[in-house]
Every structure is written in C-alpha cells, then in structure tokens.
C-alpha cells in the first residue's frame, strides 16, 4: 500500500500494530486503514482485539509497536485521548459519556464554551444558539436546552455525534451504536451516518449485527484472535463469508419466521391483571413448564419494569401472581429461594460485581447453599464456581479473575452461570446478548434452549428480533405498558413482532 499525504485518500493508516497487556498478544501486526468519507466496519468476536485497536487509535492505550498516521500526522506511540481528539478522532461511546444533569448545549460545548470577553464568563445565549444551529443543520428532533436525563438513549447518541461534529472530528468511531436502540431509531442513526459520510467524515463502525454491517459499510475488516483476517470491499461482502472468517465455523442463517407453539404443561407462573401506574397495566399471562415466553416491544414499552416486578425488585400496584400453583408475593429473597433466577439488562451496571472474582460473583447468588452457621465454605464456593465456569465455558477459566476484566460475553456467561448451577424452575432474562459476540450468543442460546428442554420455564425480554423469534415458543408484545398482541400459533416473523410493537397491526393477522 502506498503512503498517502494529508490530501490523499487515506485518513487513518495503521501498520503492524501490536499490543499485549500481560502475556498473550492482544493485537498482532495489524494493518488497517480508513479512507476519507468511508464507512468502515470492524468486526470480530469479543476478544478479537477490536476494542484494543480502538483504544490505541484514540490514545486510551499505548501500542507496543507499529506506525499510525492520521491525516498526514504520525501519531506517537504514546499519545493521549485529548491529542487524538484534537487531531479529529472522536468516539461515540457504547456506554454513553454525557453528563445527565446538563443540557444538550452544555454537553456539546463542555470545556469549550463560548465566553464573554470580559471576565471570561460563559455566554449561555450564544452557546444555546450555536448548539441549536448545529442541531438544525442535521435536522435532529432536539432542543439545545433539553436536559440529557430527559432524553432517550437514541437522542443522547445524537448529542454525542453533535459533540464530535462541534469538535470538527474527521473520524467518528462508533462502538456498537445500535445495541440499545429500537429498529426505528437504528434506521435513523444509519441515515445520520450516511449524512456524515456525504460530508466527508469517516465512520469506523463496530457492530455484532451483521445486517447493519452489510447495509452500511464500504469496507469490512475482520479481526480474529488479534490478527487481521481480511479487509473486504463493498460488493465482495458476503454475510456467510464474514461470519466464517470471524469465527472459523459455519452458523446457519436465521430462518424467515419461526413456529410458535402453545405448551400445555404445568403452569409455573400465573400473572393476573398486574398493574403499576405509568409502567404497565393489566398484564395477564400464564407460563408453563419448559416454555420460553418472549416479551417483545419497543424499549420503554414496560417489559423490563414488568419482569422486575415479577422478580420482586420493584413493587406493583394491583393484580396477583401465583407461582407453582400458590399465591406468591414477589421479593428477591423469595424468588431465589423458590428457584427463580434473574439476568438483568445492562450487565455492567446490574449484572456483575466488576472488581470481585468470578468465584465470588457466582458465590454471592448462592450464599444460601454455601453458608452454614454464617460461614461460607470456600471449598464449596470454588466447586460451584468451577461448575459454573465449566458449564458456561467461561474463558479464561480462572475462578480468581475479577469479572470486570473478562470480555462482555464471558461476563454475561458468569451472570447466567450463577443461576444455572442452581435447581431453577423459572429463569427471567432481560436482553441477554446485548453487545456480545456471535459465538458467545450461540452458546447462551443453547443454554436457554437446553434449560427449557429440562422443564425450566423461561421469560425472555429481547429487542433482538431474530433472537426473540428464534428462541420463544410464544411471544407477547407490549406497547405502552399493555399487552397489544400475543403470538401463540403459526409462523411468526421478525416483521410481525416489529409491526405489533409499533402498534401498526392490531388483531389484523391471525
């Protein structure tokens, strides 16, 4: 590849990037480049080295060796986040980094607020006007004076993009930007990305969602085990090919639609007219032994709130719950004692005890069985941990490793594993595979299906439509806190669920 000058086609040029933290090589001689105005997808399983590569480019981490040239400027081996930002590299974070209590304008202009000449006080009026002008230029449905904590995740993301635009970024790095967006929001984001491209801004796009990658990207670079496997040009991009390159094995493509079946077995959970003001209303359903009941709907439709109430985290106002044929007052303690497991959404915030070891993470949920006379048996805890690790195929298989230092997929395996080693009767899982690579996803699916086959009842909340239609025996769709549709027979496609979620078809099908 020939070297390009600042005016050339190549914006970011990385050559022979290597990095190891302690021990294994995380990146091994990776060559990689992004052109001006290009949408370039970076794919690979968790642990393939994508995050590390991004961290090196953005100055969060130093590289061990290799050259990086950005817009004609050689980037020193050890540079800072700030220096990268000044060069025009911006990251739109997966876990958002805005300040909730501040307005859109305050966040966009944080640390670079327009100031009055006298006294250097912030010129709030000008700041708001500038921000609004920027917003309007892209036609976002936002006001400069909106407070961040009142905005949806998708809106917050657009604020992040605006912030990068105001920094005159020429490369925007988006790490799993659609992971917590609805399909409609995601579509809007793709429009924005294409608009950025039209303005000559390059987008480096990291995603596990193959459809997006194929629709959007000009080129796709595949990483595996810290090595670059291939960079594929548009037109030569082939889903099956990329997946094969990523993981080195073939996965069947998701079918068009899946058959729903009504299970007849023993009723595990019987929910009647459950209501919680402003969150969900009049929810009734039965869940049978060995059944996977999917909850579809848009983010904010009340699914998470509903399952939290059933698990006993938040209360509800009216209605009743019967569990295993008996009246049941939900509480976390009763749930765990009664064989209910719960895998929350947002694994970093709610699922894992990041600084604590794998063994202890597993142990905490099993203290009831591990404790005699107030003392925890360290030996049995380790046994449990090893069982969980083996069952879930957690890598690396070190019980002493802090969970926070595992990859996302392995963190989720620990969260799931701590329940699976118990005698479960009901498992509630909320968005179990957000931000997880395909390999780990498949493993988690296999576990869920295996559990159901063993007679465990499963409640699955998911915004991932292929996941929902594939796993669920039955799907209930919530909209604005109410059941709008139940699919319990026939073949159901992703579109069916999506249409119901958006409130377009009410009782038309079937």
């Amino acid at each position: 590849m020939e070297t390009k000058t600042a005016a050339g086609r190549v914006l970011l040029d990385c050559r022979g990037i290597s990095k190891s933290y302690t021990g294994p090589q995380v990146l091994d001689e990776v060559d990689f480049s992004v052109d001006r105005g290009e949408i370039h997808a970076l794919v690979g399983e968790n642990g393939a080295g994508k995050s590390t590569l991004i961290k090196i480019v953005t100055g969060v981490t130093d590289r061990d060796s290799g050259e990086i040239v950005f817009a004609g400027t050689a980037i020193p081996r050890s540079h800072s986040k700030k220096a990268a930002q000044e060069l025009g590299i911006a990251v739109i974070y997966q876990e958002l980094s805005l300040i909730p209590g501040m307005t859109v304008a305050q966040n966009i202009y944080l640390t670079k607020e327009p100031r009055f000449r006298a006294l250097r006080l912030i010129d709030i009026r000008r700041m708001n006007a500038d921000a609004q002008a920027l917003i309007d230029r892209y036609g976002f449905p936002l006001k400069a004076t909106d407070r961040i904590d009142r905005l949806s995740i998708a809106q917050r993301q657009t604020v992040e993009i605006l912030k990068a635009l105001s920094d005159r970024a020429s490369l925007m790095i988006m790490d799993e930007p659609t992971s917590s967006l609805t399909s409609a929001e995601a579509t809007r984001l793709f429009d924005i990305i294409r608009k950025l491209k039209a303005e000559g801004i390059s987008v480096l796009y990291i995603s596990h969602r193959m459809e997006e990658v194929f629709d959007l990207s000009d080129r796709v670079t595949v990483l595996r085990d810290g090595r670059k496997v291939a960079t594929l040009e548009k037109g030569k991009i082939n889903p099956a090919e990329i997946i094969r390159l990523m993981i080195g094995r073939d996965l069947s493509e998701s079918d068009r639609g899946h058959r729903m079946t009504r299970k007849a077995g023993e009723v595990v959970l019987d929910v009647r007219s459950l209501s919680s003001p402003g969150l969900f209303r009049d929810i009734s359903f039965e869940l049978h032994r060995g059944e996977i009941l999917g909850f579809g709907g848009l983010v904010g439709s009340g699914r998470t709130e509903l399952v939290r109430a059933i698990y006993g985290i938040d209360g509800y106002d009216s209605g009743s719950v019967r569990y295993l044929g008996k009246d049941y007052r939900p509480s976390v303690r009763a749930a765990i004692a009664g064989g209910i497991g719960f895998v929350p959404e947002e694994r970093r915030l709610q699922g894992i005890l990041a600084p604590i070891s794998v063994a202890r993470n597993i142990g905490v949920a099993n203290l009831d069985v591990l404790t005699t006379a107030g003392m925890v048996s360290g030996r049995r805890e380790l046994e449990f941990a090893k069982r969980g690790i083996a069952l879930m195929n957690v890598k690396p298989d070190l019980p002493d490793m802090p969970v926070g230092s595992l990859s996302g997929g392995n963190q989720q395996k620990v969260v799931l594993g701590k329940w699976l080693i118990r005698a479960l009767k009901l498992l509630i899982i909320d968005e179990p595979t957000v931000g997880i690579d395909i390999g780990a996803k498949e493993e988690i699916y296999a576990h869920i299906e295996h559990l159901a086959a063993q007679g465990v009842a499963v409640i699955l909340v998911s915004s991932d439509l292929p996941e929902l239609t594939r796993l669920a025996d039955r799907i209930i769709v919530l909209r604005k806190g109410r059941i709008i549709k139940e699919f319990d027979e026939g073949v159901v496609s992703e579109e069916d669920v999506l249409l119901a979620s958006s409130g377009i078809v009410e009782g038309e099908r079937r």
């Binding site: 699922g351 925890v376 926070g404």
Partner: protein
C-alpha cells in the same frame, strides 16, 4: 499472576519495614523494648477500632463516629460499674451492646433516609460527644475499681499486656468474618455493586446496618480497653482517633469506594500510623510540626503503596458507571 499477587501482598509489609529501618537509623532509641511497648498501646487501640470500622468503607460508606462511641461507652461502663454497682462482666456486655446499638442506629438512618454515611456519622460524632459531655458532667473521672476491669487494659497474661490478646482476637475474628462469612461476602458485594448485589439476593440495607453495628461494637471494645488502660473516662478520651483509624484502613488498602479491604492490611496500617507519631517524638520534632509531618508521611506511604500497584481497570470502569447512574 501469582507472582503479581505475591508482590502486591508484600508491598505493604515492605513499606513498613522500610519505615522501621529509617526510624532505627535515625534514632537509636527506636528499636528498644521500652519504646516499642510505648507504641504498642496506640497500635492496640487503633487496630481494635479498625477491625470493625473496616466494614463501613467496604460497603461503600464511612464511620466517623467511632471516636465518640469509644469515649461515650467508656463513660457508660464506668457509670454502670461504679455508680450503678453492676457486675463488671455484665457492664462490659451492656457497653458493647450499646456500641452495637449506636452503630445500628447510624446504619438505620443512613439506609432508611438514604443520607450519606459521611454526614450521618459526622452528626453522630458530634451528638454522641455531646451526650458524653452531659453524662460525665464535662469532667474527667478516674476509674479505680473494679480490679478485674482495670486488668483488661493494664494487666498482663503470659508476660504480654492484655490488650494485645484482645487486639489479636479481634483481628482474627474480623479477618475470618470478612473473608469467610456470609456477612463479609455481602458487605463486599454491596460495596462493589449495590444493584447487582441486590439482584443476587443480598439485602443492601440490612448488610449496611450490620456493618455499622459491628463498627459500633468494636468502638465500644476500644472504649473499654482505653478506659481501663488509662484508668480514666471523659468525653474527649478518643477524640480524633477515627482519623487515625481511617488512615490505618486506607494505608492498609481498604478502598473508600467500597468493595475491597484487608484486615491484615489495616493492622499494618495501624502500626505505621503509630510508628510515625512515635518517630516524630523520638526525633524531638516540636509538637506544632507533628500534624504536617504526619500528613506528609501518610501521603508518601499511600503513594508508595498504591502508586506501583496496577490499577483495576475493569473495576474502575464499573465503579464509574455506577456512580454516575
């Protein structure tokens, strides 16, 4: 991996040995039996308090009231025995129960009204001192009997002062509690990620209340040892000791953000805090310079101890997210 762990575990003792080496070189009187036994008293009292106070920071809180609890319980024990005529053993039991109850109350206010523990225990420090002033009528009382009580702090068994045994017993108990008991697991879990702990079946409020009770109970034990040792009780008996204890904890590797801590580390921290004070005396540093010198030495010890340690990347990330949510 294991080498790194071993290195991390040996860093603090190494700092301690370095400190002792420096003190030995600069003052020939440092490494003498008479001097070391002087230092011993403060080591004992600080360690006794730290053995229980460690649970507040581990759950992500703090307990600033332990000095006032120690003073108040010392006065309380004296009144029970010498004014109400209560048997000394019963009096001790009641005193420890009082300490635990005060701690429970701190924990209750913190969890029930969701008030920052710093503010709650700061307030407790002040009003408990006030109560101690009132019931002691602002005076200093000498405690002259019973002999069994005085033997707790002043007596010796098998050639060693009794407070050493009390301290060692509490350190061992606390270490086991922290590393082996279900309470310890819960406390660490709550400090590491309260939400995740709750979803795993841990009750964060009960865990916190238990943590502050333990803190109050050991403060009462400290108060008893101190009263018995000095044969005195007064409201200011242990004023400011909470800062020594906190210093010992932090120097010993306990995170004020919650989720991690070490009882053995706290003990070494207590020894260091005591040595620093002692060293300044031995070097004839004039009293007005002590606080400044102590502060600087503590900072150096902290930097030395933590600066070389690898940062917990994953952990820090999780924490950051939790705080901002």
């Amino acid at each position: 991996m294991n080498v790194a762990k071993l290195k991390a575990a040996l860093r603090l003792p190494a700092v301690l040995v370095a400190l002792m080496a420096v003190l030995t070189i600069v003052s020939p009187r440092f490494l003498t039996i008479s001097n070391l036994s002087n230092v011993l008293w403060s080591v004992c009292v600080i360690s006794i308090l730290a053995s229980g106070a460690i649970y507040a920071p581990i759950t992500g809180g703090i307990d600033l009231s332990i000095g006032s609890i120690a003073a108040l319980t010392g006065i309380f024990a004296d009144i029970l025995m010498n004014r109400a005529g209560v048997n000394w053993l019963l009096a001790i039991a009641a005193t420890i129960a009082l300490g635990a109850f005060i701690g429970l109350f701190n924990g209750f206010i913190t969890t029930r009204f969701k008030v920052n523990a710093f503010i709650v225990t700061m307030a407790a420090k002040t009003y408990l001192y006030g109560i101690a002033m009132v019931i002691s009528q602002g005076g200093m009382k000498s405690i002259l009997k019973p002999a069994q009580f005085l033997a707790i702090g002043g007596g010796r068994s098998f050639g060693l002062p009794n407070p050493i045994y009390i301290m060692l017993a509490l350190i061992v108990i606390s270490h086991i509690l922290l590393t082996r008991s279900s309470f310890g697991r819960r406390a660490i879990a709550v400090g590491a990620n309260e939400v995740a702990a709750r979803l795993s079946g841990v009750d964060p409020d009960r865990t916190r209340m238990a943590a502050y009770s333990v803190s109050g109970a050991t403060a009462a034990v400290g108060g008893i040892v101190l009263a018995s040792l000095t044969q005195q009780s007064f409201a200011g008996a242990a004023s400011g000791i909470e800062l020594d204890v906190l210093t010992a904890l932090v120097v010993g590797g306990t995170s004020l953000l919650g989720g991690s801590g070490s009882v053995a580390g706290a003990f070494i921290g207590a020894v260091m805090v005591a040595f620093i004070g002692n060293g300044l005396n031995l070097l004839n540093v004039p009293a007005p310079y002590h606080p400044t010198a102590t502060g600087i030495v503590i900072l150096l010890a902290l930097i030395f101890n933590m600066g070389i340690a690898p940062r917990r990347r994953g952990a820090a990330g999780g924490k950051h997210l939790r705080r901002t949510s």
